[in-house]
């Protein structure tokens, strides 16, 4: 009786955990859309808005996020199993890929037509992205080591 109750409790924990992961991913998607699709274009002058609006492809983002969510759920269900380590690393790198893709891998460019002139702007912001890549790699490996050592992350 106690055994079946334990299994039931474990199953409930897994379901809550999966729901938590789904909620977090949806929140991430919402924050991403608010920042990149609403907030940043709103701060830009009207003539530059079109440059930024072309940047974000929501369908692209949703497909990335579906894979990210699936990896997160598999990682959660696997728990402390060693297979979960590469899956966790993969999900972290995928998250990084979403950010890098949204920022065109640091090479931002766009053009607008103003009166009789085409004004083109090119920005190279790859340096802060290198830092972001290093931080993600370090945190990813730290999480992996934590999992190997047996501590819950």
């Amino acid at each position: 009786m106690t055994g079946s109750l334990g299994i039931e409790e474990k199953r409930r924990d897994i379901i809550y955990g999966v729901l938590y992961k789904i909620t977090i991913s949806l929140l991430f998607l919402l924050i991403f859309i608010i920042v990149f699709d609403i907030l940043i274009p709103a701060l830009l002058p009207p003539e530059y808005r079109s440059v930024f609006e072309e940047r974000i492809n929501i369908m692209h983002l949703i497909s990335y996020l579906s894979v990210f969510l699936s990896l997160n759920i598999v990682d959660y269900v696997l728990g402390k199993h060693p297979v979960a380590i590469p899956i966790r690393l993969l999900s972290k790198f995928l998250l990084l890929l979403i950010v890098l893709d949204a920022l065109s891998y640091g090479k931002l460019h766009g053009s607008i037509v103003y009166n009789d002139y085409v004004i083109s702007i090119y920005f190279d912001i790859s340096k802060p992205l290198y830092v972001l890549i290093i931080i993600t790699l370090v945190l990813g490996f730290l999480d992996a080591f934590k999992k190997i050592s047996g501590e819950e992350v």
């Binding site: 002139y117 004004i119 090119y122 802060p128 830092v131 730290l142």
Partner: protein, 131 residues
Amino acid sequence: MYAPLKLGIYLLGAVILLGLLSPLIVFTLETLTNPGVIMFRIKSAKNIDEEHYSVTISLVYNGTVTLYDVQVIIGNKTILTIPKLENGKEYITTINITKQDLKVASNGYILRFNIGGLYDFKYSVKKVEKK
């Protein structure tokens, strides 16, 4: 053991990122609030002979962040190079250009520089040819 280490990495990362992004944020805000941060203009143009002109160019910068490797490109020619442009500085130079270059300049130019030695920036203006 891992929690303080993770927090430390997050904090260190945030500080480095903020430090790296600060010149870009300051420059972007200054450009958005004041369109006259960088003013590039041709002060005078005199004929030397039938094909050549002596042109005096002025470049004024009123931003806080130092700009490096400032280049003004007309057509395929770099007509002006300034290694370092600081706040409040006006750079005046006289160059000799051909009649053809002057014609190209009226159709567009490229302004290229590096913000705070960290971010390459290119701004190009090109006249649309009407059919």
